[in-house]
Point group: C2
Chain length 478, copies 2
């Protein structure tokens, strides 16, 4: 049976983490390959996770005054070239449209790799006065970057994301926006995706092309590698000057507005997989799971079982739980393995014996633990268990992050740490690019961020030994 | 002041309907032009209408078992060519990517003009058994068609839409799906957008490239022209054969599945404007309006006014009404004109005199009518008025449709009708392409549809006079 394939064993993560990851993506039916290298198909279950992410984030964006817009998918080459640092970063990985209908285009167009230039062109049209500010725009769309290598969710040639682009009257307001969005990302990752983060600022080498400052939320995966889960950029007025965007201030003088952009993408789904998954497959944080509780009738040919299961389904739906009923003719073993693979947080099982005792059996995906629950307590117990699963996943991920973050005083120590255990090396740094490059060359690490909460762990740069005032995290990143 | 521009007069629709339409699109801040011809920017207010359309339709799609997916934006040329009729229709208006990064592509790729071919390629991977059917997929995305002319919402080179693509075990199930989706569109247009529809089948000449049958919902605009608001296609197993998609049936034999696709786009927003708008601007049907009631304090420097207006805002929000408060320092005249231009269904005004009398004043956008409402009755009255506005808009549009649908027996009659009044000409038709072409040449009309409800209005074809068994609508279409 084709259906049986799904519950075939997946590779153990201890044997081959990369293969385990690919197996989960395919066997949990999150993704499929297309005929174009590096362009993936988001299948219903994978896309449903993204829809839940969108719903949660979109609400937070709107609560903080942001509005959604949609700008064109194509950027004329001359427009992309208006900001020098920006085009240098993105032009080499653009896909170019050169023919429209039967005609060669006079000017070729890039499929957007990001939309700063398009937003600036539009902002020039709609910003004239201080009364037009701030502009707090966001766009949900796909972007395209012609990368050489690809992995599901982590590196696509085309991926889904949101890109916020805002304009403000003052640098102070724009900086506050940059930090506000970083905090929204951090809150979302921790309280919805159960992924603990390190918040910090990127080095000049690692910042976004064209930004003055880039802030990031960094997460640690099961294999102790880093995932940059979201970024928030402060642009100053660099783009505004390049695009000649001005507004008349309250002082009746012309000023350039100050700008931010910020984004997260479907790579967060890769982060969920590598933070919470295990050797039975995906483990979904309950607040984002498309199905939070799967109701399964046991021995469903027996009198009353199917009706009772249907009753549980309706009660859970009425209580606002995302739930489904599997009354297919597959075996109980198949169903258990299937919903483990798909990371459904809770299975709610009910059979003839349970009916007699007025109970059901709830099984947790994270721990495998089973509890028998009086039917009267169904809704309350399911909601409590969903919160407990969230808290448990968060605590386990937090422990992973803390256990594998090590303070190092020398490059040799960093090297030894990365070669044996791996994780985040916490060190002092003088701020010089030369040291950052040497860390990469000698220890194979890139700077992850300079944490917002600075805890000085020494006095000397880990690399050159000169006096250092900044604490920084190093790691190996996806 | 830049802000004052918005309330400048727009062209009267009786003077120049096309210019009136463009004025409304720009001055209600629905849309902006980009630097690429035919590619538009959906501004926050225009995009918010689309978001409400999405929310309503997506709920209906999910209630009928459909799941969302996301497939790549690019289609390799060889994939697009697999179904002959389909590629003939779409290839001439594709935009082609020929360069990725620094390299010329071995095979050029089209930006999707529609995704039948991509869905078929994926379906081949995921359909093996009758247990995998039906597949009920939908995608929200943008598509690109390199058209020579363009108009906001009605004809974009890039536009937003949804495309449903489903696969079924039998032709009967696929046909039922095709009709179900047509009914969902009709219900949505009438009961949410207040746009009456004529449901019917397209002629072979007008059907979708590659479809066996195309069904449509046709609406009549203020100027008596037709707008095709949505289509639903039955494909039979033509694509399945071209793409070699098979499944093992309950009979253990291999079969080709039967397919449908269906879509509506942001051109519906153009339809809303041209169905309900007037010489003061946009008129939005309440169930889709981003702001259903705008609360405006009158003489807000007077004691208690702003607080009272804030109270009304909170009460309306709590009652589930989409509402905002305008406490800007613009004049009352400016505010009235601004929210008329933006088509906000109700304005709720409160000033010192109202406070004394314990009332507020509610003004309807559709009729201009003002009523004074005791504060205790606020929520109930607003909800009732929103329904009344919907019903009123629908009735007016229905009257327009009925008044300008004329039964004609001869081509000369059709010609005279179109030259004087315009609208839908209801005639008999023999079914021959030659007659359809002659109607276009002589009377300037295209076939709109053969209505599902067939009311025989004669015995002879309007064009050739031979016996005819089908009633058909003709018109001039956007």
């Amino acid at each position: 049976m084709a259906k049986e394939k799904k519950v075939e064993q997946i590779t153990d993560m201890e044997v081959d983490f990369a293969q385990w990851y690919t197996d989960v993506c395919k066997k949990a039916e999150l993704i499929d390959y297309s005929s174009i290298k590096g362009m993936f198909i988001y299948r219903p279950y994978g896309y449903a996770i993204w829809e839940n992410i969108q719903k949660e984030l979109d609400r937070r964006f709107k609560e903080t005054g942001h509005e959604n817009v949609y700008l064109p998918v194509l950027i004329p080459e001359s427009l992309l070239q208006k900001e020098k640092d920006h085009v240098e970063g993105f032009a080499p990985e653009c896909a170019w449209v050169t023919v429209g209908g039967a005609d060669k285009l006079e000017e070729r167009c890039a499929i957007r790799p990001t939309s700063e230039t398009l937003f600036c062109e539009h902002y020039k049209n709609v910003i004239q006065s201080h009364r037009d500010l701030p502009k707090l725009y966001n766009q949900w769309c796909s972007v395209l970057r012609w990368e050489k290598t690809s992995r599901p969710f982590l590196r696509h040639r085309e991926f889904l994301w949101q890109e916020g682009h805002t304009m403000h009257a003052t640098a102070g307001e724009a900086r506050a926006e940059t930090m506000q969005m970083l905090e929204i990302y951090a809150d979302f990752l921790e309280n919805v995706l159960a992924m603990p983060v390190v918040k910090g600022r990127k080095t000049d080498k690692e910042k976004f092309n064209g930004a003055e400052e880039t802030y990031t939320v960094e997460c640690m995966m099961h294999d102790h590698k880093a995932l940059q889960a979201g970024t928030s950029h402060y642009f100053g007025d660099g783009f505004a000057k390049a695009f000649d965007i001005t507004f008349t201030g309250r002082d009746n003088q012309l000023h350039h507005p100050h700008q931010t952009s910020w984004g997260v993408s479907t790579r967060m789904i890769g982060g969920i997989i590598m933070t919470h998954g295990d050797n039975s497959g995906l483990v979904l944080p309950p607040r984002i799971a498309p199905i939070q509780a799967m109701v399964i009738p046991v021995a469903m040919h027996k009198e009353g079982v199917l009706e009772a299961a249907g009753g549980l389904l309706e009660r859970l739906k009425a209580a606002g739980v995302r739930t489904k009923l599997d009354d297919s003719d597959q075996s109980m073993g198949w169903k258990a393995a299937e919903y483990e693979m798909k990371g459904v947080p809770l299975r709610v099982e009910i059979g003839p014996k349970d009916l007699e005792k007025g109970q059901c059996c709830i099984c947790r995906r994270d721990s495998g633990e089973k509890v028998f629950v009086p039917l009267a307590d169904l809704e309350e117990t399911v909601k409590r268990l969903l919160d407990e699963v969230h808290d448990g996943l968060y605590a386990r991920a937090r422990k992973n992050l803390e256990d594998h973050t090590r303070t190092c005083q020398t490059l040799a120590e960093v090297k030894e740490f990365m070669e044996t255990e791996g994780g985040f090396a916490r060190t002092m740094w003088c701020g010089d690019l030369a040291c950052e490059l040497k860390m990469k060359e000698e220890a194979g690490v890139t700077s992850r961020c300079m944490p917002l909460v600075q805890e000085l762990v020494g006095e000397a740069c880990v690399c050159c030994g000169r006096p250092a005032k900044q604490m920084i995290y190093w790691g190996v990143a996806y």
